[in-house]
Symmetry: C2
Subunit: 515 residues, 2 copies
């Protein structure tokens, strides 16, 4: 008991709201510290840890995560949250929001037995290891049984969380609160109806943009300096940022004051660096601009995967690959590579950034074909969860769908169903948030313009302050205090509407390909 004074306080506090509040605040501080540790250790791991660090890091993170789950799921916490929620005037507005969010976190954990969660965690650690080797060796067969086992485990956990509910809906909702198949089905239908024929038209067009102006070899040290320039251009707070190096770019870090971007540079592909940094910079802006009052609470961080991806893909594509922004971007490229970019025009750069071309690898996809990669995964996940397909069907399904939607042949599983790490991590239901985020970004941009912002002017001037301020005020600062739907309604005047996205894609690519 003395190991956990918060628990003792809880028991003593049934008739004492102030003690309840103190116990709640202490629980939040404890959760903050454990998350801080898990996030710092977890996100720095792949960037700086020496190779022999792996086993101890894994053990430390799993024990810390266990402590975090125990603290949230302690039986006293449920009644505590209920008592506090019944006294909104005493508890105050911010704390009421914390209680709501923490209550939801608790609900998603408390009904699955700890042993089952631990077993699932061990299964995914093993699966991830097998997947890594399977991808390297183009060996689907070795990974296949893990997919079936993971889906079965996720179905079982979904039943514990929401008895009787569709298990895939449970996991879609887990990654994006308020969604499910009834949300995503019409969204993807609309995307498919727009993008599949649009892409076919682009491919048939005689007016294909060229990327010749960005071809060449680019010194790595100068590319890192360019990455730094881009963070400045985007408006990221460098005093709250650390940039490291890794193969697969990501944003992490433990706190509002310490966001970590890990990225890469390739000598033969300077745009990969540019758009990776702009993308991760979007995630970074979101994390850095959460209300400082939320720093030590459950309200810290972005409100959902979709809203987070909305920020990153907004700065990567809607700002980053716009014609207006090509001017400031070209200036930065010229600053570091005057020889290569001295004679390139902004319009040439814009066209080079927007060559739509079906490819096998999601991470290499352009803005137009990207959602089709997600669609393939969404449809296969549904079939697995409904029992209409098994893991052994995936290679065939993958080939059929890539042929059908993107018009290309899949030569092997390494560049097919083995390309992504997500399934090996157990993250079924996560992929759709990537497409959703792209679509939310388009809706946000239209709201900015409708509200009177000179969006293109801001992009063309290289001063994105009006864009940042708009997002900071309406999205970023709220952290997890408001859900995606609430933020969207307040910021844009309506709930999510995919038409903004399909209209945006249709208009942009029709113009580029002169359809």
């Amino acid at each position: 008991m003395a190991d956990n004074p918060a628990t003792a306080d809880l028991n003593a506090a049934v008739a004492n709201p102030r003690a309840d509040i103190a116990a709640f605040d202490e629980l939040e501080k404890k959760l903050f510290a454990l998350r801080y540790a898990i996030d710092e250790i977890g996100s720095l791991g792949p960037v700086i840890d020496p190779v022999k660090a792996t086993e101890e890091r894994g053990e430390a993170c799993s024990v810390l995560e266990e402590q975090r789950i125990r603290a949230i799921c302690a039986p006293e916490v449920g009644p505590l949250l209920e008592r506090l929620a019944a006294q909104p005037e005493l508890v105050g507005k911010t704390r009421m929001r914390q209680i709501r969010v923490l209550g939801r976190d608790r609900a998603s954990l408390v009904d699955v037995p700890a042993e089952e969660q631990a077993a699932f965690s061990r299964l995914t650690v093993e699966a991830n290891d097998v997947w890594r080797r399977a991808k390297a060796g183009n060996d689907w067969a070795s990974f296949e049984p893990y997919v079936d086992r993971i889906v079965a485990a996720l179905r079982h956990m979904a039943e514990a969380k929401k008895p009787g509910a569709d298990p895939y809906d449970v996991w879609l909702d887990e990654y994006e609160h308020g969604t499910g198949r009834s949300f995503y089905d019409p969204f993807f239908e609309q995307v498919k109806d727009c993008v599949v024929p649009l892409l076919a038209d682009c491919m048939a067009s005689r007016h294909k943009p060229s990327h010749a102006v960005v071809d060449g070899t680019f010194d790595e040290a100068r590319q890192w300096a360019l990455a730094d320039d881009l963070m400045e251009l985007e408006g990221v707070d460098k005093d709250a940022l650390w940039v490291g190096r890794t193969e697969h770019p990501f944003t992490g870090g433990p706190s509002v004051g310490f966001v970590l971007i890990a990225s890469h540079v390739y000598p033969d592909n300077v745009l990969s660096n540019v758009f990776s940094m702009l993308h991760e910079g979007g995630h970074t802006l979101y994390e850095q601009n959460v209300d400082p009052a939320y720093r030590f609470t459950s309200l810290k961080g972005g409100t959902s995967m979709g809203m987070h991806e909305a920020q990153s893909r907004f700065f990567e594509n809607i700002v980053g690959r716009s014609e207006a922004f090509a001017g400031p971007l070209l200036e930065r490229l010229r600053g570091r590579f005057p020889g290569q970019f001295g004679r390139v025009t902004p319009h040439q750069l814009y066209l080079a950034e927007n060559c739509a071309e079906p490819c096998l690898i999601r991470c290499d996809a352009d803005e137009l074909t990207y959602p089709l990669h997600i669609l393939v995964r969404y449809e296969i996940e549904q079939l697995l969860f409904s029992g209409e397909a098994k893991a052994s069907d995936i290679p065939r399904l993958w080939a059929e769908k890539y042929k059908g939607y993107l018009g290309i042949d899949v030569p092997d599983d390494a560049s097919g169903a083995l390309q992504d790490t997500h399934w090996s991590d157990g993250s079924f239901g996560y992929f759709p948030t990537y497409a959703l985020g792209s679509a939310i970004g388009a809706q946000l941009k239209n709201a900015m313009v409708a509200g009177g912002m000179d969006f293109d002017g801001a992009c063309a001037s290289g001063d994105l302050a009006p864009v940042r301020e708009w997002l900071r005020e309406r999205v970023w600062r709220w952290g997890r205090a408001k859900d995606t739907d609430e933020l969207l309604r307040e910021a844009t005047g309506s709930s999510f509407d995919a038409s903004h996205y399909t209209d945006y894609l249709a208009r942009k690519f029709s113009a580029i390909y002169q359809l």
Copy 2:
């Protein structure tokens, strides 16, 4: 209760030794994970964290440390350790050692009320901040009251830990188990009797070594490459090492598989880089070579401050500044700076490394004068704890003792009593371990030679494997499983004996200065 199943297990386990063992193992895992987090966050902080990370990092570390102390001090843990200690055959040898070490950790924490520890922690955070500005502004007066407050708080805590004991003895024992004034007084007396006249003779000698051969300007990138060469030469495991950059070199990191060295390079002082790296490499070898079986237990890490400093100063001085090692070292210097070192001889380098010269700053001191800097601090700390001096006396005492022992005038407090961070951190009783470590190193070297090792041959060949293997077998692998005295007796055949050190200094510097 559910937040802490270990506690529940403890209560149920009074009559069940196997459940006791399981509860103990779980406690050790929890403590491992919390220490891992505190060590990683704490040691990476000054190296990579952006400036705005400070507040959240501080909060996270303090909450994690509070969790750690609570877990150790939980009232059930005392009886648990007692029950287990009574069943050595069931518990096993390694676990018995864990129980002894964890019991000692607990004893040093459990008698000081948590509020008092927290208040002391806040006081030192504030004092450290004030000290930083006081040092920059050469303003002793602003820092002075904190010294008195910290000493008073330490005296009060010492009384809680060991009622009636001399408070300075309590803190000396805290940093180096088994020591106290009765241990250090004769040690420092012996050091003083040797070094003070020896230094005077050196200063009066007509045969002063020259450091002209190492003067010059050295490219920073090449110096970092040299640092890497030196880690290889010393035999540090680079697969379990990360090297970062900082102003004041230190060794940290969370685990056996992940040791962190933070160091600096100065363009005008290549030897500072060389000996900083060899020093931190010594700490690193100790951490990396603890028995892997201890990784997740209280037995991880070095057994004491003195034994840790013995390893670092051994590789810095007894190996690093030896005449035999000047050959391999010169080879590395030539590899990176062929222009500067092409015509230098090993003997010239050896002399350049060993210019004894009284200076104001402890961190810049040579091997001979170093212990005198420690002596000054030891004597002042004693006076403060006995009440014979107050903080306001320190500048005067400092000037008197630097004049008396080192023969130099102290021009200001910034290069006097404000130079070190330790007192602002509350680390009274820590300084003496630096001198003790140097002395232990000399005793270890003599034992190697007495045991038949060709120590100079190993140094001259650049293959330090025999030296490392000797230390790994007798010191490093034991982690905290054996105390300094036990290790020394087993490794050298006798308890600590300062004569090895004073003889070593006398012989070495008499030869260099041709006394």
